[in-house]
Amino acid sequence: MTGSVTDTGDRRRTSDAPLLITELIDEETVQSIAQEAWSALIGDDEFLVPLPGGLPDDAVSSWVEIVGAWSGSVVLTCGRSTAEQLARCLLAEHAPPVLDAEDVQDALGELANVVGGNVKAVLPGHSVLGLPEVGSAPEPGPDALRVDLLWRGQSLTITAQGSAGAPTARTNNQYENEVPL
Protein backbone atom coordinates (compact mmCIF):
# COMPACT_ATOMS: atom_id res chain seq x y z
CA MET A 1 0.00 0.00 0.00
CA THR A 2 1.32 3.37 -0.89
CA GLY A 3 -1.39 5.58 0.56
CA SER A 4 0.20 8.17 2.76
CA VAL A 5 -2.71 8.32 5.17
CA THR A 6 -3.96 4.76 4.92
CA ASP A 7 -4.52 3.52 8.44
CA THR A 8 -2.31 0.70 9.57
CA GLY A 9 -2.93 1.26 13.25
CA ASP A 10 0.74 1.81 14.05
CA ARG A 11 0.53 5.55 13.54
CA ARG A 12 -1.71 5.88 16.53
CA ARG A 13 0.10 6.98 19.62
CA THR A 14 -0.05 4.84 22.67
CA SER A 15 -0.12 7.93 24.90
CA ASP A 16 -3.38 9.73 25.56
CA ALA A 17 -2.44 12.77 23.50
CA PRO A 18 -4.68 12.85 20.39
CA LEU A 19 -3.06 13.72 17.09
CA LEU A 20 -3.59 17.24 15.79
CA ILE A 21 -5.79 17.59 12.74
CA THR A 22 -2.92 19.18 10.84
CA GLU A 23 -0.92 15.98 11.36
CA LEU A 24 -3.72 13.90 9.83
CA ILE A 25 -4.94 15.79 6.78
CA ASP A 26 -3.71 18.71 4.68
CA GLU A 27 -5.47 21.68 3.08
CA GLU A 28 -5.08 20.24 -0.38
CA THR A 29 -6.96 17.05 0.55
CA VAL A 30 -9.81 19.01 2.17
CA GLN A 31 -10.01 21.20 -0.91
CA SER A 32 -10.10 18.22 -3.27
CA ILE A 33 -12.85 16.59 -1.19
CA ALA A 34 -14.88 19.79 -1.36
CA GLN A 35 -14.20 20.17 -5.08
CA GLU A 36 -15.53 16.68 -5.77
CA ALA A 37 -18.66 17.49 -3.79
CA TRP A 38 -19.15 20.70 -5.75
CA SER A 39 -18.53 19.09 -9.16
CA ALA A 40 -20.95 16.27 -8.47
CA LEU A 41 -23.69 18.05 -6.53
CA ILE A 42 -23.53 21.76 -7.37
CA GLY A 43 -22.59 21.51 -11.04
CA ASP A 44 -20.19 20.01 -13.56
CA ASP A 45 -18.32 23.26 -14.05
CA GLU A 46 -18.42 24.70 -10.54
CA PHE A 47 -14.98 25.38 -9.18
CA LEU A 48 -13.68 26.19 -5.73
CA VAL A 49 -10.70 28.51 -5.90
CA PRO A 50 -8.33 28.39 -2.92
CA LEU A 51 -8.28 32.12 -2.13
CA PRO A 52 -9.33 33.91 1.05
CA GLY A 53 -12.22 36.32 0.51
CA GLY A 54 -13.59 37.39 3.86
CA LEU A 55 -16.96 36.15 5.08
CA PRO A 56 -19.95 38.53 5.24
CA ASP A 57 -21.43 39.50 8.63
CA ASP A 58 -24.49 37.31 8.17
CA ALA A 59 -22.41 34.15 7.73
CA VAL A 60 -24.08 30.86 8.60
CA SER A 61 -22.47 27.51 9.38
CA SER A 62 -23.34 23.87 9.04
CA TRP A 63 -21.28 21.09 10.57
CA VAL A 64 -21.03 17.43 11.38
CA GLU A 65 -19.38 16.01 14.44
CA ILE A 66 -16.88 13.16 14.21
CA VAL A 67 -16.33 11.01 17.30
CA GLY A 68 -13.80 8.22 17.60
CA ALA A 69 -10.12 7.80 16.83
CA TRP A 70 -10.18 11.52 16.04
CA SER A 71 -12.89 13.71 17.53
CA GLY A 72 -13.99 17.09 16.37
CA SER A 73 -16.18 18.62 13.72
CA VAL A 74 -16.08 19.63 10.06
CA VAL A 75 -17.66 23.04 9.59
CA LEU A 76 -18.82 24.77 6.41
CA THR A 77 -19.36 28.52 6.67
CA CYS A 78 -20.63 31.01 4.08
CA GLY A 79 -22.89 34.06 3.69
CA ARG A 80 -26.66 33.61 3.68
CA SER A 81 -27.02 34.53 0.05
CA THR A 82 -24.28 32.03 -0.87
CA ALA A 83 -26.12 29.38 1.15
CA GLU A 84 -29.31 30.10 -0.81
CA GLN A 85 -27.52 29.83 -4.13
CA LEU A 86 -25.92 26.56 -3.06
CA ALA A 87 -29.32 25.17 -2.10
CA ARG A 88 -30.75 26.19 -5.46
CA CYS A 89 -27.85 24.58 -7.38
CA LEU A 90 -28.07 21.42 -5.30
CA LEU A 91 -31.78 21.01 -5.98
CA ALA A 92 -31.43 22.20 -9.61
CA GLU A 93 -34.60 21.25 -11.49
CA HIS A 94 -36.12 19.84 -8.30
CA ALA A 95 -36.06 23.23 -6.54
CA PRO A 96 -39.41 24.75 -5.59
CA PRO A 97 -40.12 28.28 -6.96
CA VAL A 98 -39.57 29.73 -3.49
CA LEU A 99 -36.91 28.19 -1.28
CA ASP A 100 -37.84 28.26 2.36
CA ALA A 101 -35.32 28.61 5.19
CA GLU A 102 -35.63 24.93 5.99
CA ASP A 103 -34.54 23.93 2.47
CA VAL A 104 -31.49 26.19 2.68
CA GLN A 105 -30.49 24.80 6.09
CA ASP A 106 -31.09 21.26 4.91
CA ALA A 107 -28.94 21.80 1.80
CA LEU A 108 -26.12 23.42 3.74
CA GLY A 109 -26.24 20.61 6.30
CA GLU A 110 -26.09 18.00 3.58
CA LEU A 111 -23.00 19.64 2.05
CA ALA A 112 -21.31 19.54 5.47
CA ASN A 113 -22.33 15.88 5.77
CA VAL A 114 -20.83 15.00 2.38
CA VAL A 115 -17.57 16.85 3.01
CA GLY A 116 -17.39 15.64 6.63
CA GLY A 117 -18.02 12.00 5.72
CA ASN A 118 -15.20 12.06 3.21
CA VAL A 119 -12.86 13.87 5.61
CA LYS A 120 -13.61 11.18 8.19
CA ALA A 121 -12.69 8.48 5.67
CA VAL A 122 -9.22 10.00 5.23
CA LEU A 123 -8.54 10.12 8.98
CA PRO A 124 -7.00 7.05 10.60
CA GLY A 125 -9.03 4.65 12.74
CA HIS A 126 -12.75 4.19 13.08
CA SER A 127 -14.96 7.14 13.93
CA VAL A 128 -18.66 7.80 13.96
CA LEU A 129 -20.26 10.62 11.99
CA GLY A 130 -22.97 12.71 13.63
CA LEU A 131 -26.03 14.25 12.03
CA PRO A 132 -25.61 17.66 10.39
CA GLU A 133 -26.39 20.79 12.39
CA VAL A 134 -26.89 24.35 11.21
CA GLY A 135 -26.45 27.63 13.02
CA SER A 136 -23.49 29.26 14.71
CA ALA A 137 -20.72 26.72 14.78
CA PRO A 138 -18.61 26.10 17.87
CA GLU A 139 -15.55 28.35 17.85
CA PRO A 140 -12.46 26.53 16.64
CA GLY A 141 -9.69 26.03 19.17
CA PRO A 142 -5.99 25.93 18.34
CA ASP A 143 -6.37 22.45 16.79
CA ALA A 144 -8.00 23.50 13.52
CA LEU A 145 -7.34 23.31 9.80
CA ARG A 146 -9.16 26.03 7.90
CA VAL A 147 -9.45 26.15 4.11
CA ASP A 148 -10.57 29.43 2.52
CA LEU A 149 -12.31 29.07 -0.82
CA LEU A 150 -14.06 31.20 -3.40
CA TRP A 151 -17.12 29.89 -5.20
CA ARG A 152 -18.47 32.16 -7.95
CA GLY A 153 -16.45 34.93 -6.31
CA GLN A 154 -18.11 34.41 -2.92
CA SER A 155 -16.11 33.20 -0.01
CA LEU A 156 -16.73 30.13 2.05
CA THR A 157 -14.59 28.28 4.54
CA ILE A 158 -14.26 24.67 5.51
CA THR A 159 -12.74 24.02 8.91
CA ALA A 160 -11.80 20.69 10.45
CA GLN A 161 -11.49 21.39 14.16
CA GLY A 162 -10.49 19.00 16.90
CA SER A 163 -12.39 18.86 20.18
CA ALA A 164 -9.41 17.64 22.20
CA GLY A 165 -10.26 17.71 25.86
CA ALA A 166 -14.01 17.61 25.26
CA PRO A 167 -15.86 14.77 27.04
CA THR A 168 -16.44 12.90 23.77
CA ALA A 169 -12.86 13.13 22.62
CA ARG A 170 -11.65 9.68 23.55
CA THR A 171 -14.62 7.38 23.30
CA ASN A 172 -15.30 4.51 20.95
CA ASN A 173 -11.80 3.09 21.15
CA GLN A 174 -13.32 -0.37 20.97
CA TYR A 175 -13.55 0.17 17.21
CA GLU A 176 -9.82 0.63 16.82
CA ASN A 177 -9.04 -2.57 14.98
CA GLU A 178 -12.23 -2.93 13.07
CA VAL A 179 -11.50 -1.37 9.72
CA PRO A 180 -10.21 -4.32 7.67
CA LEU A 181 -7.67 -2.62 5.45
Partner: protein, 127 residues
Protein backbone atom coordinates in the same frame (compact mmCIF):
# COMPACT_ATOMS: atom_id res chain seq x y z
CA UNK B 1 -40.87 -0.03 -11.21
CA UNK B 2 -41.16 1.19 -7.65
CA UNK B 3 -38.57 2.73 -5.36
CA UNK B 4 -38.33 3.97 -1.80
CA UNK B 5 -35.84 6.73 -0.95
CA UNK B 6 -34.84 7.04 2.71
CA UNK B 7 -32.75 10.00 3.84
CA UNK B 8 -33.11 12.45 6.72
CA UNK B 9 -32.29 15.31 4.35
CA UNK B 10 -35.40 16.37 2.44
CA UNK B 11 -33.18 18.02 -0.17
CA UNK B 12 -31.25 14.79 -0.73
CA UNK B 13 -34.51 12.80 -0.91
CA UNK B 14 -35.79 15.13 -3.60
CA UNK B 15 -32.57 14.78 -5.59
CA UNK B 16 -32.46 10.97 -5.48
CA UNK B 17 -36.22 10.69 -6.04
CA UNK B 18 -35.94 13.12 -8.96
CA UNK B 19 -33.24 11.00 -10.62
CA UNK B 20 -35.28 7.82 -10.18
CA UNK B 21 -38.49 9.46 -11.42
CA UNK B 22 -36.58 10.65 -14.46
CA UNK B 23 -35.76 7.01 -15.15
CA UNK B 24 -39.41 6.04 -14.95
CA UNK B 25 -39.69 4.95 -11.31
CA UNK B 26 -42.65 5.52 -9.03
CA UNK B 27 -41.05 6.81 -5.81
CA UNK B 28 -42.04 7.06 -2.16
CA UNK B 29 -39.93 8.79 0.48
CA UNK B 30 -39.13 8.31 4.15
CA UNK B 31 -37.08 10.38 6.61
CA UNK B 32 -35.37 7.57 8.53
CA UNK B 33 -35.13 3.79 8.72
CA UNK B 34 -38.15 3.30 10.97
CA UNK B 35 -40.34 5.36 8.63
CA UNK B 36 -38.98 3.30 5.78
CA UNK B 37 -39.99 0.06 7.50
CA UNK B 38 -43.45 1.56 8.09
CA UNK B 39 -43.78 2.11 4.33
CA UNK B 40 -42.82 -1.51 3.63
CA UNK B 41 -45.09 -2.85 6.38
CA UNK B 42 -47.88 -0.73 4.91
CA UNK B 43 -47.70 -2.90 1.81
CA UNK B 44 -45.58 -0.76 -0.52
CA UNK B 45 -42.87 -3.27 -1.42
CA UNK B 46 -40.53 -1.56 -3.90
CA UNK B 47 -38.07 -3.06 -6.39
CA UNK B 48 -35.38 -0.72 -5.08
CA UNK B 49 -34.59 1.05 -1.82
CA UNK B 50 -32.00 3.85 -1.76
CA UNK B 51 -31.05 4.40 1.86
CA UNK B 52 -28.74 6.81 3.66
CA UNK B 53 -26.59 5.57 6.55
CA UNK B 54 -26.61 8.25 9.28
CA UNK B 55 -30.17 9.14 10.24
CA UNK B 56 -32.08 9.71 13.47
CA UNK B 57 -34.32 7.03 15.06
CA UNK B 58 -33.09 4.13 12.90
CA UNK B 59 -29.96 4.30 10.78
CA UNK B 60 -29.47 2.78 7.36
CA UNK B 61 -27.47 -0.22 8.53
CA UNK B 62 -30.20 -1.20 11.02
CA UNK B 63 -32.77 -0.72 8.28
CA UNK B 64 -30.85 -3.05 5.94
CA UNK B 65 -30.62 -5.74 8.64
CA UNK B 66 -34.34 -5.39 9.40
CA UNK B 67 -35.32 -5.76 5.75
CA UNK B 68 -33.03 -8.74 5.29
CA UNK B 69 -34.51 -10.52 8.31
CA UNK B 70 -37.96 -10.60 6.72
CA UNK B 71 -38.25 -13.21 3.93
CA UNK B 72 -41.27 -11.40 2.50
CA UNK B 73 -38.91 -8.63 1.37
CA UNK B 74 -36.31 -10.90 -0.22
CA UNK B 75 -36.89 -9.39 -3.66
CA UNK B 76 -36.14 -5.83 -2.54
CA UNK B 77 -32.81 -4.55 -3.85
CA UNK B 78 -31.05 -2.22 -1.43
CA UNK B 79 -28.56 0.44 -2.44
CA UNK B 80 -26.91 2.54 0.24
CA UNK B 81 -26.38 6.19 -0.71
CA UNK B 82 -24.19 7.78 1.93
CA UNK B 83 -21.16 9.91 2.69
CA UNK B 84 -19.74 7.04 4.78
CA UNK B 85 -16.87 6.13 2.52
CA UNK B 86 -14.32 4.01 4.37
CA UNK B 87 -13.47 0.64 2.90
CA UNK B 88 -14.58 -1.02 6.15
CA UNK B 89 -17.96 0.73 6.16
CA UNK B 90 -18.75 -0.51 2.65
CA UNK B 91 -17.81 -4.03 3.76
CA UNK B 92 -20.20 -3.73 6.73
CA UNK B 93 -23.07 -2.54 4.56
CA UNK B 94 -22.60 -5.37 2.06
CA UNK B 95 -22.30 -7.90 4.88
CA UNK B 96 -25.59 -6.63 6.35
CA UNK B 97 -27.26 -7.31 3.02
CA UNK B 98 -27.02 -4.17 0.90
CA UNK B 99 -26.53 -5.00 -2.80
CA UNK B 100 -24.90 -1.79 -3.92
CA UNK B 101 -23.26 1.28 -2.48
CA UNK B 102 -23.09 4.81 -3.83
CA UNK B 103 -20.76 7.23 -2.11
CA UNK B 104 -21.94 10.82 -1.65
CA UNK B 105 -21.15 12.99 -3.54
CA UNK B 106 -22.64 11.28 -6.57
CA UNK B 107 -23.94 12.33 -9.97
CA UNK B 108 -27.14 11.20 -11.67
CA UNK B 109 -24.92 9.13 -13.99
CA UNK B 110 -23.52 7.21 -11.01
CA UNK B 111 -27.01 6.21 -9.89
CA UNK B 112 -27.89 5.22 -13.45
CA UNK B 113 -24.72 3.11 -13.84
CA UNK B 114 -25.40 1.27 -10.58
CA UNK B 115 -29.00 0.55 -11.61
CA UNK B 116 -27.66 -0.83 -14.88
CA UNK B 117 -25.38 -3.20 -12.92
CA UNK B 118 -28.35 -4.31 -10.83
CA UNK B 119 -30.53 -4.88 -13.88
CA UNK B 120 -32.94 -2.25 -12.59
CA UNK B 121 -32.69 0.21 -15.44
CA UNK B 122 -35.56 0.65 -17.87
CA UNK B 123 -34.54 -0.35 -21.43
CA UNK B 124 -34.42 3.00 -23.23
CA UNK B 125 -32.23 5.60 -21.58
CA UNK B 126 -31.46 9.00 -22.97
CA UNK B 127 -29.16 11.72 -21.70
Amino acid sequence: MRALVIDDSKVMRRIVAGILEGLGYEVQQAGHGREGLDVLEGGYVPDLVCVDWNMPVMDGLQFVSAVRSNPAWRQVTIMMVTSESEHGQIVRALAAGAHEYVIKPFTADAIRDKLALLGLLPEEVVL
